[in-house]
């Protein structure tokens, strides 16, 4: 049996007096597609941000691809990771944000090629070739020379996905990638992600409020509430027969608001 690619071991995350994650543990297998759902403030974003090393953890351990994320071995002892170690670990992980966070002063193509050229020292010609493949995949090849300000939200998000893919991470994190989009634009982004899920064996963690999409996309759904995993299982089970009351209430509210599964 293969090793998990992510192993989260009783991590704690506090902001001042507020404990957001309280001893959370979970494992993700290579190639697995995971959907994280749950009410606002339950810690879904936080867990992705911790994996992306955008936050620090207050306690616990995280192992990614066989190595400690926030710690490193030094003289045989585990010590807090330094910037170099984090830099090395980040190669394995990519993230797409709710607000795209494209670089507004660079054209679409430069947005995609910048990181490979800088972090991997790939030559421009090669980086551009690969970038065009990715832009083609997300249906944005014809906009390679546009500036982000000229794109619609859905187009921006597709570029952001291509940009994250350009570094060929083993793990991709998606945080509500459609919730800042006009309803009509949602579909084009979800299509790209469906394609991606089908075509690659990348490990993916997805935070979403689109229950229908979570259902189609995920191998496994985790339901979060107040910094804990309250329930987890296959999408069929979670959405059709939630066991926990909190899951049931949450799903009822969301569905009443007009979303279908």
């Amino acid at each position: 049996m293969p090793e998990p690619i992510i192993r989260i071991d009783s991590i704690v995350k506090r902001y001042g007096a507020l404990t957001v994650l309280d001893g959370l543990s979970m494992e993700v297998m290579p190639g697995e597609k995971l959907a994280l759902i749950g009410p606002s403030g339950s810690g879904k974003t936080t867990i992705l941000r911790i994996l992306m090393t955008l936050e620090t953890i207050s306690d616990g351990f995280i192992q990614v691809d066989g190595e400690q994320l926030y710690h490193m071995k030094k003289d045989g002892r585990l010590v807090p990771a330094d910037e170099r170690h984090l830099h090395k670990m980040r190669e394995k992980i990519g993230m797409v944000f709710q607000h795209f966070n494209l670089f507004p002063h660079k054209c679409v193509l430069d947005n995609v090629t910048l990181a490979p050229m800088l972090t991997k020292g790939i030559a421009r010609a090669q980086a551009e070739e690969r970038a065009m493949e990715l832009l083609d995949m997300v249906g944005m090849a014809d906009k390679a020379k546009s500036m982000p300000a000229q794109l619609s939200g859905g187009q921006k998000q597709r570029v952001a996905i291509a940009r994250a893919l350009a570094l060929s991470p083993k793990i991709m994190l998606f945080d509500e990638v459609t919730s800042a989009l006009d309803p009509e634009l949602v579909e084009e982004v979800l299509n790209v992600m469906r394609k991606l899920a089908a075509e690659t064996d990348m490990t993916m963690l997805l935070v979403t409020h689109e229950m229908g999409f979570a259902h189609d996309f995920a191998d496994r759904v985790l339901f979060f509430d107040r910094g804990k995993i309250v329930e987890e299982g296959r999408p069929e089970d979670i959405f059709r027969h939630p066991k926990q009351e909190r899951t049931q209430t949450f799903l009822r509210k969301i569905l009443a608001a007009g979303h279908r599964v």
Binding site: E91, N101, H105, L114, T119, M147
Partner: protein
């Protein structure tokens, strides 16, 4: 009869000194503004403390006091500067301290989201600053830099108090020699205004140049 063309010529010589002071002072101010502004955002406590001390000190004391120190007190420490050097030093360090806050503010204004995107793309701190943060922060700084440059221009009038023969000082000389107050002062008011206006024009031009692309038009 008073030889006005000659005396206006004297004032224009002073204007040259004023321009020199403004240009050299601005150059120094820009350098220290970036050094101290980025220093305040450094990871290292020592660097932060140093930058903060510099900024608070030079914003805290008056430009007059700084000028007098540069001119009259530094020599006792064995550093004798020409009046021009003392003027450039005091003005540059003074305006640089204000500029440092502008740099810091602009860099911080390029939000957390852009920084996070850099981390997610695994850029180093230096790469993020150089390729992502500063190119976006620069257009934000320029308008305030323009105002600072005008402040510096106006500050040069103060150096007349340490006998640097700038425009205001020459106006004083002309006034003493001719007994006329209105003409020399009116002349320099107009000259200062024209210079300030040129600075604004230049800054606006620069702003247009560096922010091209951000509004959707490709540079």
């Amino acid at each position: 009869m008073i030889d006005w063309s000659g005396y206006i010529g004297l004032i224009l010589e002073g204007a040259l000194v004023t321009i020199q002071l403004t240009l050299m002072g601005s150059a120094l101010a820009i350098v220290v503004a970036f050094a101290a502004g980025l220093g305040r955002l450094s990871r290292f406590t020592g660097v932060r403390a140093l930058a903060t001390t510099y900024i608070e000190f030079f914003r805290g004391t008056s430009i007059f006091v700084q000028l007098f120190w540069a001119y009259f007190v530094l020599p006792f420490a064995g550093i004798t500067l020409t009046p021009l050097q003392a003027g450039v030093l005091a003005l540059g360090l003074n305006v640089g301290a204000y500029g440092a806050e502008v740099v810091r503010g602009a860099v911080k204004a390029i939000g957390r989201e852009q920084r996070e995107a850099c981390i997610a793309l695994n850029l180093t701190r230096y790469q993020a600053m150089r390729h992502i943060i500063l190119p976006q922060a620069l257009p934000l700084m320029l308008p305030t830099f323009g105002n600072n440059a005008i402040e510096l221009l106006k500050g040069t009038a103060v150096v007349s108090l340490i006998s640097l023969t700038d425009m205001t000082f020459q106006a004083q000389v002309v006034r003493a020699q001719t007994g006329n107050t209105l003409i020399p002062f009116a002349t320099i008011l107009v000259l200062y205004f024209v210079m300030a206006w040129l600075i604004s024009l230049g800054m606006r031009w620069l702003e247009r140049r560096v922010s091209r692309g951000l509004d959707g038009v490709r540079a």
